[in-house]
């Protein structure tokens, strides 16, 4: 019984993180994008620099009518946002935050298959967008859905290969184990893998510059065209939760997680700082780069990222065995 309560409490904590962190990243995106584009962004909601803008958005979304088009496949259409959202919650369970004032590692649950579990959960999340695209009965959604599918399949591979390279170097699949094994020279030895992982992660989240499936100038909103109200909000939350998961995973795998001065006490703070820094990069990429064309999206994956990831695996193999 004690174990069940323990697991329950940890899951409540994970849900809390899941509801708060994406909003923080979303607010950071509002403000960072605005200042990069010489604007101020939201200023009214909440008083101080529009800090409550996303809360206000949430309140608005909750009160919106739910519309399912007649042409849509009703069940698939209605289920898609949940399929997009829930996997990121699962992924967050296995991602460690690090030592907390000598009280052990702050984590939902350390799984010995952690890395595999998180990657599997992340790729299920993309299926939600695909379901939305094919279930909407809309031409824009359909084209967007095809693009999502191609993007998922092209980028899943380099992402998994790059992650495997870290697992090889650490000799474990547990995320806590990997971060413990991490050494500063991995920053150099695993650099190509890190770049591949981060870029492929951006593409899986369909974040700009890899937002060809959404491409508002040509496809309206791609797979999300027919969505509105709460279901649209769930897709939106899934996107930002995805950013948090990607940033946290990049931190734990490649940036040493909680490695830093006084990490036994404030390791969790180091992890948070790094996660926020990587999230900022995700936002920066949106402002800095124009959208890739559909053919460029796929050729980048197969002609650049997959070969680089394979080379990284070879390099890591040599380093581990020699």
């Amino acid at each position: 019984m004690a174990e069940v309560i323990d697991a329950l409490l940890r899951c409540v904590a994970v849900v809390a993180v899941f509801m708060v962190f994406p909003l923080v990243v979303g607010q950071m995106e509002h403000k960072a994008m605005a200042h990069m584009q010489s604007r101020v962004g939201p200023m009214k909601a909440g008083g101080f620099h529009g800090w409550a803008q996303l809360v206000a958005d949430g309140v608005k979304f909750v009160q919106k009518e739910s519309i399912v088009p007649t042409a849509a496949d009703r069940k698939v259409f209605e289920l898609a946002p949940a399929v997009a959202l829930v996997p990121y919650l699962l992924a967050m369970l296995a991602i460690p935050l690090g030592p907390f004032f000598g009280q052990g590692n702050l984590i939902g649950q350390d799984l010995d298959l952690g890395l595999f579990f998180v990657l599997a959960a992340m790729s299920v999340g993309v299926l939600g967008t695909l379901m939305g695209g094919l279930g909407s009965g809309n031409k824009y959604s359909y084209i967007g859905g095809m693009r999502v599918a191609a993007q998922l399949m092209s980028y899943e591979l380099p992402m998994v290969l790059a992650a495997a390279s870290v697992a090889m170097a650490a000799g474990t699949l547990s995320l806590v184990g990997i971060a413990n094994e991490w050494e500063p020279w991995w920053l150099v030895a695993q650099l190509p893998g890190m770049v591949v992982f981060f870029v492929a992660g951006l593409a899986e989240l369909q974040r700009p510059p890899f937002d060809a499936p959404l491409a508002d100038a040509e496809l309206v909103m791609g797979p999300l065209t027919e969505y509105g109200g709460m279901r649209f909000a769930m897709f939106l939350l899934a996107e930002y939760a995805g950013i948090v998961v990607l940033a946290a995973l990049t931190t734990v795998l490649y940036l040493g997680g909680w490695a830093g001065p006084f990490s036994d006490d404030i390791g969790w703070l180091w992890t948070l700082v790094k996660v926020m820094a990587v999230s900022f990069l995700v936002i920066w990429a949106r402002v800095a780069y124009p959208r890739l064309r559909e053919d460029q999206v796929n050729s980048l994956a197969w002609k650049v990222l997959v070969p680089v990831a394979l080379a990284q695996i070879t390099l890591t193999t040599v380093l581990v065995v020699a």
Binding site: E3, A7, L8, R10, C11, V14, V15, F18, Q63, K64, E65, S66, I67, P69, T70, A71, P81, A82, L85, V86, L89, L90, L93, G108, Q109, L111, L115, F116, G137, N138, K139, Y140, S141, Y142, I143, A149, A150, M153, E156, L157, V160, L161, A164, A167, M168, G171, T172, L173, V220, T225, M230, A233, D295, N298, S299, W302, K303, T314, T317, V321
Partner: protein
């Protein structure tokens, strides 16, 4: 074995939590949203004009080819993970074996590349 499964108790709980969360969000929405019937709302959105034909259609074969390539490589990726864990213990023999395995797949990728499958326009 029991200790191993204990680790996954939290996974079970979080899956339930996920369903509760998604159901809760949609449930609150159901309680608070208005309902104004109008047939036009349920039409497919097509930039403001009446929709023509169906949402389904044929699509370029390129997508299918990418799916095929992915299936070939995904198998490789799955085998990499158990191998990655034991690489250091087994050493060179494991490295050589995986080298052969990946080598065969690289030949496949090079073949697809030479055949022009990876280019959008030939």
């Amino acid at each position: 074995m029991a200790a191993y499964l204990d680790d996954y108790l939290a996974v079970g709980v979080i899956i339930v939590a996920g369903f509760v969360l998604a159901g809760g969000m949609l449930g609150v929405n159901r309680l608070m949203r208005p309902r104004v019937a109008a047939r036009e709302k349920l039409l497919t959105y097509e930039s403001g004009v009446d929709p023509v034909g169906e949402g389904w259609s044929q699509s370029t074969v390129r997508y299918y080819v990418y799916a095929f390539l992915y299936v070939i490589f995904a198998v490789d990726a799955v085998f990499l993970f158990p191998w990655a864990v034991v690489l250091e213990d087994i050493g060179r023999a494991a490295a050589v074996e995986m080298g052969i395995f990946i080598g065969i797949l690289v030949v496949g990728l090079v073949y697809a590349w030479r055949k022009g499958v990876l280019s959008w326009t030939s």
